[in-house]
Symmetry: C2
Subunit: 438 residues, 2 copies
């Protein structure tokens, strides 16, 4: 993964350096957290890729719970509990699941309580699963009390109980050690996986929350972690101009202070849309805060948007190029080695002579380069991430980069990047309503 | 479909009326267009649901081209050429395609030139299609010169040619009559469907562009059109307080003038995400304009975002409730009759006593109502759309409502809601690059 920003970010080197220098004490702090290799700080998620014990335990449980017969891993979880695993699965396999009906195992995600989707999932389980070994259920809830996750887990357990003995043997529960869910699942002798208490959901992709389902799906979690490890080293460098997380956070901060409050992540690969949504939570939930660290009302926040190239050029491209200059963009483009091209013998030869025999990759690169020229000509600020390929290693590097970038941005904005106090605002109202119906 | 805004939109009745009154001359104009029942105005898309000739021709071509053997309809198109059909297909069937591998026919969408996705699509066509009758390809490009669509059509035609005789017999081309693509396809005796010249892509869902693939997928296009017809009548009423499109446009405009430049469409059903993306293009591309009608530089635009309940409450809910007050929201919630509920006998009975034996619909409704209370308490403006069910009729009504709302909003903002001049900015750069590679 490479990060580019010069000549395009709209900020002078001097201004970036000045902003980035404010990060120096916090970079020191992250280095201290990194040396400790424990989970006692809110920043401790940066230690996950180095934790061989966690990874070994994941692989051992995978060994125990999966076989050649496994067809579906049903992930029950929402928000930070599933967005990381979904990002990586979709990037590598999931986005074309419908085109590969015989490729197993597949991950199936159950998050919100949509009646229509749940009904179809029930019919699916009743008709397509012949044997308990064909399915594994992983319920993931950090707090152990997420309404959607509890409801779905009970719903699925009931369906499986109709058909198989000892259904709880096919359930793995991932939660904070000591949560009520942990205690109940432990009583029933379910397999349990822990999320370190101070690692928040949106920073948990490299914990058991992400690693276990991904390993079960056959994804190379060693490469994922290795990519993250190498990127952590870069993102903790005190030499700011070599530190992509410090640079990106500084550029976002500089624009935010000038009223640019939308950050568009513009990914030129449709299979990366879920990766964009993972970052959407990370940025939105970490930085969107009513109060700063000192308790003053600030209503800080950058609205994350996710765009897909070239699809969204035909949708919101007009808005981006012609509308208000209220956005900063991070483009993401990956190299590809797939041999896919426009054939020599065309049915409609006069329509597009410029693309004859060109590979899809070359055409997409031309579109991407054309967009960058148009953004520059229009004076729209952007940064750029280049992947050498769409692989576990590059995805691990990117996610580690973004998690540290977000911590730096929280520090610059003087907000707590690790809590989410306002989520309670609707949850308590919902609880009141549910109780009134009991 | 019902529209609610009182006590929640943040605008007084007087202010809404004042704004809406400015629409009076344009409502008259739309009524004139409606009386003419032709396609000579940019607003003429409002006549599509009343055009029995188009619908009859669609059903006749469906009869000719499809049989019980049909498994896949491959839609090649991007932006306005596929977002409408995808919105409706995903809402009714597509979002759970992976859970229903034996339900046919399925729509498969090929839009951008992603090498990995194209490679998997090629493998799919080579291995899963045994007979030419199992597949139908519908290439859709209004201009007839969209690079991605031409490249994909040639790529797919080559794969099919390897395997079947007379592949062009399985290709239906939808484009402007007289486009270069029309002429070439006509020479080769392909089946042709027209998009009326003045109906832009983002307003074309109820033309052949949307109707043909949806009819082939078995969706009730009569009900879709009927929903749109009834809604058009409401949205052309000169009694503004009965006209949901005029009200919604006025509320969006009022907030825009006060610096609220993000419109979040917050749909409480994951299968409606593509519907949100269809509206994202409609609003983004119609209103995002550098110049107003008088040629003055205005850089107008409202940034559309799409959120899914309850999923995104666990992602960006914190930002929405705690962050900057820079958004207006339209919530969408549908009734459901699915018998899906939390079982009586729970595995983990102490975890969520409030939801025991409650239906998923009731829990989701409680979450939705909780969110509305939280938005009100925080002073966040919102409107609300209620669907009696997720059905072709309700979807047709909603889409007609939104298309007319967008026209009204364009009129209030004094911009041309029907062009997209800035898309050329990157296209011309891309062409230069492609030519330099030739």
């Amino acid at each position: 993964m490479q990060f580019f920003y010069k000549h395009s970010s709209g900020v002078s080197k001097k201004d970036i350096d000045k902003t980035a220098q404010r990060l120096t004490p916090y970079i020191s702090r992250l280095n201290t957290v990194a040396q400790m290799q424990h989970y006692e700080d809110y920043e401790s998620s940066i230690n996950l890729p180095f934790d061989a014990a966690i990874h070994d335990a994941v692989l051992a449980l995978k060994q125990k719970k999966t076989s050649q017969k496994l067809k579906y891993i049903l992930i029950i979880g929402i928000g930070g509990s599933n967005l990381g695993a979904k990002a990586i699965y979709d990037a590598l396999l999931g986005s074309t699941d419908v085109l590969e009906p015989d490729r197993f195992p597949k991950l199936i995600f159950a998050d919100t309580l949509d009646p229509e989707c749940a009904n179809r999932l029930r019919a699916f389980l009743r008709t397509r699963i012949q044997n308990a070994d064909e399915i594994l259920v992983n319920a993931i809830s950090k707090s152990g009390s997420t309404i959607e996750t509890i409801a779905y887990t009970e719903f699925i357990a009931e369906i499986l109980r109709e058909r198989f003995k000892n259904t709880l043997e096919r359930l793995v529960v991932t939660t904070d050690e000591g949560s009520q869910l942990w205690k109940e699942a432990d009583k029933k002798k379910c397999s349990l996986l822990e999320i370190p208490q101070k690692v928040g959901g949106r920073f948990s992709v490299l914990s058991n929350a992400g690693l276990f389902p991904l390993a079960c799906a056959g994804i190379d979690t060693s490469a994922l972690l290795d990519g993250a490890r190498k990127m952590r080293a870069k993102c903790l460098l005190s030499n700011l101009s070599e530190n992509p997380a410090a640079l990106s956070a500084s550029i976002l901060f500089w624009h935010y202070k000038r009223g640019i409050c939308i950050h568009d992540t513009f990914l030129f690969h449709p299979e990366l849309e879920s990766l964009g949504k993972w970052y959407r939570q990370l940025l939105g939930e970490s930085i969107g805060k009513e109060k700063n660290i000192n308790g003053e009302t600030v209503r800080a926040g950058i609205t994350p948007t996710v765009s897909i190239g070239s699809t969204d050029l035909h949708s919101v491209g007009q808005l981006y190029l012609g509308g208000p200059k209220d956005k900063i963009t991070t483009f993401i483009f990956a190299q590809s080695k797939e041999e896919v091209k426009v054939p020599k013998n065309q049915q409609f030869a006069n329509l597009a002579p410029d693309i004859k025999e060109k590979s899809f990759h070359v055409i997409m690169k031309a579109i991407f380069d054309g967009v960058k020229v148009a953004y520059k000509n229009t004076g729209l600020p952007f940064m750029e991430i280049a992947f050498s390929e769409i692989s576990p290693r590059e995805l691990g590097a990117f996610m580690q980069f973004k998690m540290i970038e977000t911590m730096y941005l929280g520090f610059l904005l003087n907000v707590n990047a690790f809590d989410q106090p306002h989520v309670e605002a609707y949850k308590s109202e919902t609880k009141k309503i549910l109780r009134s119906l009991s």
